[in-house]
Symmetry: C2
């Protein structure tokens, strides 16, 4: 399991500081959607500069204009970009094409996607599928159970990430379903000592 | 019918220049999603400064973090902000609360929303519901017919906007269904003479 740490809803200089401090404990650093909407894709360039040796995910949450947004995001330094599963299939196809052409990666955010929707978009073989519970709805109650159910229903999906209220207590259980990527945000960045919190997550994942 | 002109996928100085040139012919100027992702919410402040007397819509396409994103968008100068119909109901409720509290407006973008989804979110009485065909999928074939069918299915929805490949030829027919807002983007901004194109749309709408 890889640890992706999401940085969001802070001023850009604080986001850069988080990136520098948390890079040693992150497999992937994430520039959150609101950070991108606050500062634009320059937020991606800033985080990449702050932590050049760590993979950077830009949580673009693209839902239309797939070609344009993905080109802008990769050009700005992102290694992975997100597209909404709720987009039209045409949009996801455009994003995927740009990702494949540029040798980067695409994550499909399954926020609010019904199983029928997921069924229509489950064949992007290199994509990472992110099971995601809305911050506005509250945390996932059983992330491990969610992944096990997803794997059973969509056995062809190879790469899985999980996001939404993941805490230290979730990690031990997640070892059963073993997603490729575990995404943690405020559980680390809002801790009293974020670097220590990140280390604790890493230890729990080991 | 009001004319909303969308400005998108151009450098910020060109967007400001469009805002100044097109404000006289616009009821609403729109800062497009990609413009916001390129430059952040400062793009809203810049367009508001360029055309202070024209209503400004920020096409935030919020799909999570409703409270945070809407507060940021209104604070930056937007009079209207968009939330995705594909969001969780909790997200739309949060956006609506911020809109009502701050005396601003909310538009719900119905991109890729099934009728069952729309049924669940059709009771935000002051919201504008935007029928929207994805740029990536191609233009709406029959915008007038789409609105008539929508009105029949959701008679309680009072305020309707239409977006996606609207051209001069669509306008005459739209008089039948008479949406509150007609959204035009590249049909104006990519014309040889955008100000003239905007005037032609206004004439057609009269």
């Amino acid at each position: 399991m890889k640890l992706q740490i999401a940085i969001d809803r802070v001023p850009l200089d604080q986001a850069e500081s988080f990136a520098r401090k948390l890079a040693p404990y992150s497999d992937i650093l994430e520039a959150g959607t609101s950070l991108i909407k606050d500062y634009g894709v320059q937020a991606l360039a800033a985080l990449k500069k702050a932590a050049p040796d760590t993979a950077l995910l830009g949580d673009m949450k693209t839902i239309d204009e797939g070609d344009y947004e993905f080109r802008q995001g990769y050009r700005s330094g992102a290694d992975i970009l997100t597209v909404m599963g709720a987009s039209s299939v045409a949009t996801i196809e455009k994003c995927y094409r740009v990702a494949e052409q540029t040798g980067r990666e695409m994550m499909i955010d399954l926020l609010e996607c019904a199983p029928e929707t997921i069924g229509r978009i489950s064949d992007f073989s290199n994509a990472i599928y992110c099971l995601h519970t809305s911050v506005d709805k509250g945390a996932t109650a059983d992330p491990n159970g969610d992944i096990l159910a997803f794997k059973k229903r969509f056995p062809s999906v190879r790469r899985i990430a999980i996001a939404g209220g993941i805490n230290l207590g979730s990690i031990e259980k997640l070892k059963e379903s073993s997603p490729e990527i575990v995404i943690v945000g405020s559980g680390i960045t809002k801790a009293g000592d974020p670097a220590l919190a990140a280390q604790n997550f890493r230890k729990a994942m080991a």
